[in-house]
Amino acid sequence: MLKLLAHRVALSIPLVLLVSVVVFALESLVPGDPARTILGENATPEGIAALHQQMGLDQPWLERYWHWLSGLFHGDLGASLFTGDAVTSELNARLGVTVSLVLCCVLVSAVAGTALGMFSAIRGGPAARVVDVLSLTGLALPNFWVAIVLVALFAVKIRLFPATGYVPLAESPGHWLRSLVLPVIALSLFGVTAVAKQARDATLEVQDTDYIRVLRGNGVAESRIVLKHMLRNAAIPVVTVLGVVAVSMLSGTVFVEGVFVLPGLGSLATQATTDHDLPVILGIGVYFTVVVIILNLLVDLAYGMLNPKVRAS
């Protein structure tokens, strides 16, 4: 297990470097220029040239990249071209929002998805069909539409949840949870349905195995069979799907944070891209990469816990 961890961590270093090079290269392809954005419509060529020099934008990109990279090794991601704030402090202030959002979504996807999937597999009949149809509908509905409908219903019509905004956990746990309910529902719809489908198929498979039949034959309580034996075995493919879903949710935060006005990394990514704020874009690239690596690591660890064969290898 330790070997696996070490392997993952070692692999993450070239991955971060690769991502930063790709982000750097892609950003340089986007037309536009931060100096022009800052100076606006009254910009003069002299003003732009002066600002270029001040921001170091007149240097060749390899040199700029190297400069950024050497900062990275000291934990310094540079400063935002617009606000002048250190990128790390700007991103750390927003990390909590995105992490809260993604973790809640993973949790909801895992619990609700597994519950629905297993219900459909075990219960069968018309009730199961209803669950299946609902799952498919969830997969088909675009989450931006769902988000808007949720706000219209549960924030504007029935004033149950706030329409926009975020309250930090430390400030008020109740308000924190309340500010996340609608965004989490909108963002985890896809996750719930993907997990439900996987859990249903896996449960059907497990249900049909000899050892479940033997357990039943020996009169083991149904609840014990479901919770201890079926759930555990069905959980392995669910965890795989959950890993993929969690990563896709990261990109989903870009949109959901915009609609619900949550000050997270996703909304910052949009703002920084339109502004050509390269240090911030690169910082977000690094943060997202690290989060994806950690998520994958957690998936691997979960495998190990669920399946002794993985641990042995």
Binding site: F82, M118, R178
Partner: protein
């Protein structure tokens, strides 16, 4: 694969799990509604506003204009205040006047007993230092200040601004929207970087960098040292950054913000939600026929062709189709209600006349040209597409080149002199402002100049009252004849005001009102 039997096996566990999820979600709502009270958010004494993006800078010398001036106007007083209904009101300057006859020397008398939030007193020297700092700080509003030659203190409470050429709008440039009149304290000037985390003005509120979240929430606390406490209507002010039009509407509808910038797409819903929807004409959408010398497009060098284009646009139809009740046809470089607007002038829709002018100029079969536009103000380029499409009626095959990465980039394209025509809105509340805008920068990349226009305006800028209005109107007529600028329609600036907020006013002379004012009768109030 064998299908498992599904004969009525029940699992109380599953029901339990589903209920658990449901309970968690409902619990969240329940526990918070008991602790959070109404979803209104702000208490009655605090004001929460929406703005569409982060401030360009919290340093007033580098900040923006329009509604974005709110980020600095809350914490910094300007020398002169422009009220919502467009009147110039004493603020840090209690009186002002031109010295001499030709609008070149402008003098202001300062208010006594005013203190900056850093504790130092407001003096003529402090004001001169702030204004001079603005001139060299390199912000985007430097051009708004007019042709300033020098600024000096001519007494302990008197400041004199000397202009290189006549500036009839000196008082207007000293208001909260144009940068130079927004006064920064000596400590802030000594360390401009500090202004990004703490304000140093004489304003009603003080920016609090500690409770603000960059790009999301900007908070301002009440300034205990403000010179007129009776005009301070709120315990504090928060500006929330919300860009998405639908999210803005939801936040305003549920009382999360009491004031927001609206959009035509959500205005009807806002009205139905009992929000007070205020509007004032703001943008004058214009087809700029920049290449009037015919360098890149020979036909545009002929005034008859430019006039034909002006006659070919069905402004009423376009305004109605594109902006509904929030747009109106525009036929002049100035909008109705502004100084210099010429009633009963301007181009009507006359396709026959347009066609005959084209034939007269030798272009009966039309020609092709590229028109530069952008998609930040003209969302999805619907306006530009409609305008360009209408040119087809007189045989002009116009192709749009769309810049979507930013106004700065668009401005760079315009100045490259590659595009004979450009679509962009102008804004100005009199001929001085409108002329300053459209005779420079992206509105005039080829440097068009007309002797008759220049001499009329030079006379106008040095005069005042009815004389000036008459000369401004002559300039309007000259702009009309030249047809360098073909105005199409004006769009309104929309503002959503919550039911608890009163005394918010807007007008064609000030479409971007501010919550604070130096006297109680002009400030916004909470019911």
């Amino acid at each position: 694969m064998r299908r498992p039997s599904r004969s009525g096996r029940r699992s109380p566990m599953m029901v339990g799990a589903i209920s658990a999820v449901a309970i968690t979600l409902l619990g969240a709502a329940a526990c918070s509604s008991s602790s959070g009270g109404s979803s209104g958010g702000a208490s009655s004494s605090k004001l929460t506003l929406q703005f569409t993006g982060p401030p360009i800078s919290l340093n007033p010398a580098l900040g923006g204009n329009g509604l974005s001036a709110v980020f600095t106007a809350l914490a910094y007083d300007s020398l002169i205040h422009l009220s919502g209904d467009g009147k110039l009101v004493p603020d840090l300057a209690t009186s002002w006047n031109y010295v001499g006859q030709d609008n070149k020397v402008f003098e202001m008398t300062l208010r006594q007993g005013v203190k900056f939030s850093d504790g130092s007193p407001l003096t003529a020297d402090a004001v001169v230092a702030s204004m001079n700092y603005f001139r060299k700080a390199g912000g985007g509003l430097v051009g708004d200040a007019g042709p300033v030659d020098s600024i000096s203190a001519v007494g302990p409470d008197k400041v004199r601004v000397t202009y290189k050429s006549p500036n009839p709008d000196a008082a207007m440039t000293m208001t909260q929207y144009h940068g130079i009149g927004t006064i920064i304290g000596p400590k802030g000037l000594a360390n401009p970087q500090s202004l990004l985390t703490a304000s140093d003005g004489t304003g009603q509120y003080v920016y609090n960098g500690k409770t603000s979240v960059t790009n999301s929430r900007y908070t301002y606390d009440k300034n205990p040292g403000y010179f007129n406490p009776s005009a301070q209507m709120f315990g504090g002010v928060t500006i929330r950054v919300i860009g998405d039009a639908q999210a803005v509407l939801s936040a305003a509808q549920t009382g999360q913000v009491q004031f927001a910038g609206g959009a035509a797409s959500t205005a009807e819903a806002a009205k139905q939600a009992k929000l007070n929807v205020l509007s004032a004409p703001f943008f004058n959408w214009t087809l700029i026929l920049a290449d009037s010398a015919g360098k890149t497009s020979k036909p545009l060098g002929d005034a008859r062709v430019r006039q034909a284009i002006a006659y070919a646009l069905d402004r009423k139809g376009l305004a109605n189709a594109l902006g509904g009740q929030y747009a109106a046809p525009s036929t002049q470089v100035l909008l109705p209600g502004t100084d210099g607007y010429l009633p009963q002038a301007g181009y009507d829709y006359d396709l026959a006349k347009a066609k005959s002018l084209m034939a007269e100029a030798g272009y009966a079969n039309g020609f092709s040209m590229t028109v530069l536009t952008e998609s930040l103000l003209d969302r999805n380029t619907t306006y530009s597409q409609a305008i360009v499409h209408a040119l087809g009626d007189i045989g002009i095959k116009a192709t749009l080149h769309v810049e979507s990465t930013g106004i700065g980039q668009f401005s760079g394209d315009a100045l490259s002199k590659k595009y004979p025509a450009i679509i962009f809105p102008s804004a100005g509340t009199d001929m001085f402002q409108a002329h300053n805008q459209i005779s420079n920068g992206l509105f005039n990349p080829f440097g068009n100049k007309d002797r008759q226009l220049e001499s009329t305006l030079a006379k106008a800028f040095a005069s005042d009252g009815a004389d000036r209005t008459r000369l401004y109107q002559q300039a309007s007529q000259r702009y009309h004849d030249l047809a360098w600028y073909v105005p199409v329609f004006s769009t309104q600036n929309l503002l959503y005001v919550g039911p608890k907020l009163t005394n918010v006013k807007t007008s064609v002379l000030n479409p971007n009102p501010m919550p604070v004012a130096p006297t109680a009768d002009l400030a916004w109030k909470s019911k």
